[in-house]
Each structure stands twice: as structure tokens, then as C-alpha cells.
């Protein structure tokens, strides 16, 4: 996910494979929720917002995805997942979903899960 701090918008990349239902839902009510988790300690965040636009991913964005996927894979390999398996994951072609960030929640497992961690002004 790429965040533009000044406008409080973010772009997330959705692999085209198997995306039809998600895209249909987004076009229907434009509300989006995303959860991110760090495998090593389960630190997790959920962000919610309103969809601004859906577009096909550009080559420049693809480079961003490659960098992100490399770091994502390194984290998974560190906790014991096999590199040869991770290389199977296809994240391109994909769609870029740009959305307005509205709220953020701590989603780390435990009694505080669901606590508001940030709200867009």
C-alpha cells in the first residue's frame, strides 16, 4: 500500500486473478477495509476508507509492488516459510485501488483488538 500523507489517501494493489467479486463490491458501495499483519509478532492494523478510483497498475507502480513483495517474502522466510513456494505468488497484473483513509484500528490479537489507532481529520 502506498500512502500520500498530505491528502490522507492511499493506494492498494489488488491482483487481477480472482478479483471480480471484490471489484464488484467496491463499485457497489465504495467502502473498503484492509488488514495488515506482521508475521513475526502478529502486530496488525486495519484501515478503513472510501474508494476514490480503480485503475490498472502502471509500470512504475509495478516496481513498487516488486519492492514490497521482496520485503514481504523476507519476513515470511524469516519465520520459516519456503522461498520456492513464495515465488509462486502472482501479484501482477493487478488493479490500483486509490481510497480516502478514514480510520485505523489496532488489530493485534488480544483485549485491545479493534481499538481506534487513528482517525482522519
Amino acid at each position: 500500500m502506498a500512502v500520500e500523507a498530505t491528502s490522507c489517501t492511499a493506494t492498494v494493489f489488488l491482483p487481477a486473478a480472482g478479483s471480480a467479486l471484490t471489484l464488484s463490491n467496491l463499485r457497489d458501495n465504495r467502502q473498503i477495509a484492509l488488514t495488515f499483519s506482521r508475521g513475526i509478532d502478529h502486530r496488525s492494523l486495519q484501515v478503513k476508507g472510501q474508494l476514490i478510483e480503480i485503475s490498472e497498475t502502471t509500470e512504475a507502480q509495478r516496481l513498487l509492488q516488486d519492492r514490497y513483495f521482496t520485503r514481504f517474502s523476507e519476513g515470511l522466510i524469516f519465520i520459516g516459510h519456503q522461498e520456492k513456494l513464495l515465488r509462486r505468488i502472482r501479484y501482477f497484473p493487478s488493479y490500483a485501488l486509490r481510497f480516502q483513509l478514514e480510520s485505523m484500528f489496532d488489530q493485534t490479537p488480544g483485549p485491545g483488538a479493534g481499538r481506534i489507532a487513528g482517525v482522519s481529520s
Binding site: T35, D41, G110, P111, G112
Partner: protein
């Protein structure tokens, strides 16, 4: 058509699953799940440990979507669900709660996180996410080929293994032989390389390992408090636990521990070391129950995160039931035969002048026995050893009966179900490992002889 049974690996907890719900006003919510349990061919149960947005949303709008990933292939599946009901008691709830309790206990978080409800959902549809993966690695093709073996052949193999293990158990003539036979059979028939059998001690508050395979000497005499960790939780709840991807499960417990502390909970207690392999990736423990009483726990471990499947659990449940009955019968028979046994007070042979000296020290505070400054044994087996050694040295007796031990009030055996037989096995094995110059040799049923060519020196002290 994809069946729920086909997704068993996805539910093993190796890769986390994700649930998406939506409020009545259309606000989506996405979060990770800790546990999915297949209830039957059309329903799954999800664990609920904290009241959360998911719970609120399904109360308003019962439709949900769960995404699961096969840890062997990374293939993703989407499950369309409809919330059915929540269970807060009963066999399904107990099974899911026991697993969470074991993780909580191990990570020192007992009571901080626990199962609030098992939420049962009807599965409306299962979809494979097509096109999300590139070609499989060559060795994985092989694995998948093996997985696609016809089920009837596999089932026949499992039944043959069950029959072979049962047949071997039938041949055992005493408790020690029974336990050893089982572990050998499990290794040879099922390739369970790391296994241990633990029986309750005389207090009923601890389990002690009496037989093990794959742990070297450290396997015998290992103790676990009932209620502690995986094995202790199985003993307390009397429910089987199968943990896959142990490292991730424990990490999950630790994550909860940290956030619980942020929210005012006490700091987590000390973690309980996993008995056995330091790098175990899957574990399974089965309570051995006979006539409503816990006869012991059978625990197996593997370095493979998916080392134990659902059928292993069923298989060991069947074996465990037979084993528990056999343990009870062996102990009852031993007691009955001891009652008729006559003890001869044979005299020990005089040690030669050049004989090696073994120095035993008994610490009265904790009933602990050391030999040549090295820990040997404690508690009831320690008291028994000390009584035998005293009689041997002071009274010059070499033969003893189980019956006289049972009748000796100074040993403090409980009046019923004293597990004496298992205590003597532990004592015998600890001597074999730590002091082979001293042997407890079975004579006939309920009698044994102390043999040694060494000179024994005995000292009693108050503190260890």
C-alpha cells in the same frame, strides 16, 4: 466440487485465515482468525476469544466470507458463510477451548485469553482463487501426487497399522513391557520418532514420563504439572490436543500477552518449556482414560509443521483407549498377585574389600536422593529407594515385595490407586541411567531383588 474435507490442511493453522464481515449499514471489517474447526461437511466453527466487530457484524448481517490458504501449495480458497449459532459449552466448544487453553498455559497467559464461544457457520459456497499462483516447484508436484493416492488404499493401510499395533500390545506381560511395546510399535508402524508416555504420580498433581523414544536419556523421569502446558492441559481437561505449526501458535499467544499487558493485565507468567524437542513444529497429546479415570497421557512430536493429521488423532484416540484399559488391568493384576506372594528375606552377598563405594544422600525436606553428588530421583520413588537401601545396609535384606511397600505407612502411598507399579518402573529406569551398578531385578510377580557388587554408604540430610 471442492469439499470441506479437502481443505483440512488449510484449517491446520499453519497460515492464518481471514474473515470479512459487513455491518447492516455496509461498513466492511477484515480480521485474522486464530482457529477454524471443521464441524461436518457443511459447517465450520470459528473461535471467538474477544468480543469484537466481527461478532457485532454477524449479529446484524449473518453473511461472512473467510479466506483460507493451503500451506503446502499456497492455493487460496474463499468460503461464503452464513452465521448459524454460537456454542459456549459442549464437545465442540471443549475441543476448541482446550487447544487455546494449552497455548495460553504454555505462554504464561492462562486466564487472560480463553475461548468465549465457538461460532458455527454454514458454508454456502467454496471457490478456488484461480490464477493466483505460478507453476508448482518440481518436488511439490511429487508431494501432490502422493496426496492423490486413492483413499481406500490409504484407509486400508491405516487399519492394518491399527491392527498391527493392537496385536503387539496384546503380547505385553507387564506394565514396563506394555509401555515400551506401544512406543516401539508407533515408531515402526507410523514413524512416530518422538513420543513419550506419562503417568500420574502418587499425588495426582503431576505426570511423570515413564517411557520415551527419540529423546535420549532426558525422556525418562521428566515431570509436568497437571494443568501446565500442552501435556498438563490434556491431563486436566481430558481432551486430545493437536497443535500444528507450534512456533506460530505460541507467537500468537505471546502477541496477546503483550497487548493484554498494555491493557492492564498482569505480566505473563514464566513460559513452560516444551517437554522434548526444542524445535518441535507439531505436537499431539492424548489423554489415556479408563473407567472415567486418567491413567496417563501419550504425547508425540514432530519437526514437520503438518506432522499430524486428523486421522492420526482418531488413530491415537483408539490406541489410547486400549492402552488405558491395559494399564489399569496390569496394575490390578499386579496388586492381586502380590497379595499372594511370599517374601523371602534373602541376604545380600558381602561386597569384596576392593568393591567400589556408592555414596547415597537422602534429603529429608524434599524426599530427594543423590548418588555420588548427582541427582537420582525424588518423591515417592525416592522414599522407596531409601527404604530399600536402608533395609539392605542395616538389615541385610536383598529381596522386597510390592505388598510390604504398600503397607508401609512411612512411604505415604495413597490407600487406593497408588500407581506403585509405575513408580517402581521409573525408579528402575532412573537407576539404569544414573547408577547402573545398582539394580532392581524383578523376581516373580510383585517381588524384586536389589543387586549390587558395590559397597553402599548412606547419609541423610535436612536440606537440598
Amino acid at each position: 466440487m471442492i469439499r470441506l474435507a479437502d481443505l483440512q490442511r488449510c484449517f491446520a493453522g499453519v497460515l492464518p485465515s481471514i474473515i470479512s464481515t459487513c455491518s447492516a449499514s455496509g461498513v466492511p471489517n477484515v480480521t485474522y482468525l486464530s482457529q477454524i474447526f471443521r464441524v461436518d461437511e457443511r459447517r465450520i466453527a470459528l473461535s471467538c476469544q474477544f468480543f469484537n466487530k466481527t461478532k457485532q457484524n454477524v449479529a446484524e448481517n449473518p453473511f461472512a466470507s473467510v479466506q483460507v490458504i493451503d500451506p503446502v501449495t499456497l492455493q487460496t480458497y474463499d468460503l461464503d458463510l452464513r452465521f448459524d449459532h454460537s456454542q459456549t459449552s459442549g464437545p465442540l466448544f471443549d475441543k476448541m477451548a482446550t487447544r487455546i487453553q494449552a497455548i495460553a498455559s504454555h505462554t504464561g497467559m492462562l486466564g487472560v485469553f480463553k475461548l468465549l464461544s465457538a461460532d458455527v457457520y454454514e458454508v454456502l459456497a467454496i471457490r478456488e482463487l484461480e490464477g493466483s499462483l505460478g507453476p508448482a516447484p518440481a518436488d511439490q508436484d511429487q508431494d501432490q501426487h502422493q496426496d492423490s493416492e486413492p483413499a481406500p488404499l490409504s484407509l486400508r493401510s491405516e487399519l492394518r497399522a491399527l491392527s498391527a499395533v493392537t496385536e503387539r500390545l496384546r503380547g505385553a506381560t507387564d506394565l514396563d513391557g506394555l509401555l515400551s511395546t506401544l512406543l516401539d510399535a508407533l515408531r515402526e508402524e507410523l514413524s512416530f520418532e518422538h513420543a513419550m508416555l506419562l503417568l500420574p504420580d502418587e499425588t495426582g498433581k503431576r505426570l511423570v514420563s515413564l517411557a520415551s523414544r527419540g529423546y535420549g536419556e532426558s525422556g525418562i523421569g521428566a515431570e509436568v504439572r497437571i494443568g501446565d502446558g500442552l501435556i498438563g492441559t490434556v491431563a486436566q481437561t481430558e481432551h486430545t490436543i493437536r497443535l500444528t505449526n507450534v512456533a506460530a501458535s505460541l507467537n500468537y499467544g505471546r502477541a496477546i500477552g503483550r497487548t493484554a499487558q498494555d491493557h492492564g493485565a498482569h505480566a505473563p507468567g514464566a513460559e513452560i518449556p516444551l517437554p522434548g524437542l526444542p524445535d518441535a513444529q507439531s505436537q499431539m497429546a492424548i489423554p489415556l482414560l479408563a473407567h472415567g479415570r486418567l491413567a496417563g497421557v501419550l504425547a508425540v512430536e514432530s519437526k514437520n509443521p503438518l506432522g499430524f493429521e486428523e486421522w492420526h488423532e482418531t488413530f491415537l484416540d483408539v490406541i489410547g483407549h486400549q492402552l488405558a484399559i491395559a494399564i489399569e488391568n496390569m496394575m490390578l493384576r499386579a496388586e492381586a498377585e502380590e497379595a499372594q506372594a511370599i517374601t523371602r528375606s534373602a541376604f545380600p552377598p558381602k561386597p569384596t574389600k576392593a568393591a567400589r563405594v556408592l555414596r547415597f544422600c537422602f534429603y529429608r525436606n524434599d524426599d530427594c536422593v543423590f548418588v555420588d553428588d548427582e541427582y537420582l530421583i525424588r518423591n515417592l520413588p525416592g522414599r522407596i529407594l531409601w527404604k530399600i537401601l536402608r533395609s539392605f545396609v542395616d538389615g541385610a535384606r536383598a529381596e522386597f515385595s510390592n505388598r510390604e511397600l504398600r503397607l508401609d505407612p512411612s512411604l505415604g502411598l495413597p490407600p487406593i490407586k497408588d500407581n506403585l507399579e509405575s513408580r517402581l518402573i521409573l525408579l528402575r529406569k532412573r537407576l539404569e541411567q544414573k547408577c547402573p551398578e545398582l539394580r532392581l531385578v524383578p523376581k516373580c510377580r510383585g517381588q524384586f531383588r536389589l543387586e549390587t557388587s558395590c559397597t553402599l554408604e548412606l547419609v541423610e540430610k535436612d536440606s537440598g
